[in-house]
Symmetry: C2
Subunit: 254 residues, 2 copies
Amino acid sequence: MATQRGRNGKGIGKGIGKGIGKANPAEDEAVYQAILHALLEGKLKAGVKLAEPPLADIFGVSRERIRKVLHRLGAERRLEMIPNRGARVPRPTLDDVRRVYEAHRVLEAGVLTQLVRHVDDALIEKLTAHLAEERAAATRGDRAASVRLSGAFHVHLVEALGNAELTRFLADLLSRSSVMVSVYEPATDSICAVDEHGAIVEALRARDVARAIAVSREHFLHVESRLHLDDDPAPVSEDLTSVFATVKPKRRKR
Amino acid sequence: MATQRGRNGKGIGKGIGKGIGKANPAEDEAVYQAILHALLEGKLKAGVKLAEPPLADIFGVSRERIRKVLHRLGAERRLEMIPNRGARVPRPTLDDVRRVYEAHRVLEAGVLTQLVRHVDDALIEKLTAHLAEERAAATRGDRAASVRLSGAFHVHLVEALGNAELTRFLADLLSRSSVMVSVYEPATDSICAVDEHGAIVEALRARDVARAIAVSREHFLHVESRLHLDDDPAPVSEDLTSVFATVKPKRRKR
DNA sequence: CGCGCGAAAAATGTGCACATTTTTTGGAGG
DNA sequence: CCTCCAAAAAATGTGCACATTTTTCGCGCG
């Protein structure tokens, strides 16, 4: 009912419309990125239903296109797919959040253990520079940058190992926790205190594994302790149009 | 319900019987499991092309069904999907394999660090019992069981933490390495020496983190050292029918 | 014998027309 | 006012007919 497109019969006058059965992989990717971005940005609140027809209308693509993207996001566990009932933004429990933080904590312990074997001046320098960035963002009160840089610190640590599998796993955890903060937002100033990050770098510089792990562990426990259950079920604005207001649809219904 | 029935407008009514457009989620799952199983079992060799038409024929389902499963396996990075060129069993390089083993090693270091805090008699007992199983399999020369139990040991370790995220990540790594052994198979007797597993349990019992990690690390390095590049490109039998010989198709072409 | 190079064949990608749910709606009855 | 229930409406699931590649094949030329 939405983007009804003249699909000319068999062979008659097919010449005109450039794209009839055209393959456009970039379009899939654009829709995927748009939804994923809205998800990571926290614009799509937990529990929101993502129905196919409205999304197809918003993005100006066929429903099958949307369907494929939705299922892909479901396979990545970024959306909750229920048979015959569509896709929803997952509503993580407090235990889910704790589990993600714990996984990050355990992973980082392993990363630090391995990292002290390969730490060199260049790495320390890079991390120190990053700390300076974090401090700058904190002092100027740039909360968005603080949150971003705070996550980036841990990414730098795992990236220093140069192992794509580990990097991917961490990215997965971070992206999941970023969605969660929209539900259980700490609401305090900086998520990760810069000082705690600095202590990790210090321990690394000293090649002190035990201290690095201890500091990292305390750091995570500190963050976890700040989580609080916002027991407000929230009305969740079901208005998808406003969420994807930035997208430029090729054609909208109206 | 079934207000309308006549569906075969032009298509020759070949599929008369019962379900025409029925929803059967179990069927998707069956196909998915069958292909995944063949993949993990090593029956599907690296580099093999998984074309849709033959698979649809083998499993007796529509091509769309196959297509969906293939894309799902691609999203899970178990198959390599190339636009317009279909799905192939990935052909991991030696570096890929090393990366997976390293990731497992790093992860286990973190797991052990966390585990010594929660280790109790029940866990030690469970692991000891597992070691007995491994020894039994080794002494009676049951290679298949040895390989399986060897992987299970590490699963037990991470499961002891009770963190689904970590368990999933390990399962992911293990499943990937299991595919890889078909290319770079150690070909020696037991993949993981039981003694090395026993040493890990011993260190856990003593609550000695450093030793546990050191032993685990040596263990993995030992396994990694056995990897060898089988530079034989292998003719890879492209015969999918024999691979899925066990499946009972509802209808086969010829 | 190898090497293009076009045409045929096969395989992948996509919109659409339905079937099959699920959800909403609108009363009748308590 | 609330509950229950059947019918309508909406949303999801699936096969199919193509369009669009990609791959294979055949054949003439150097």
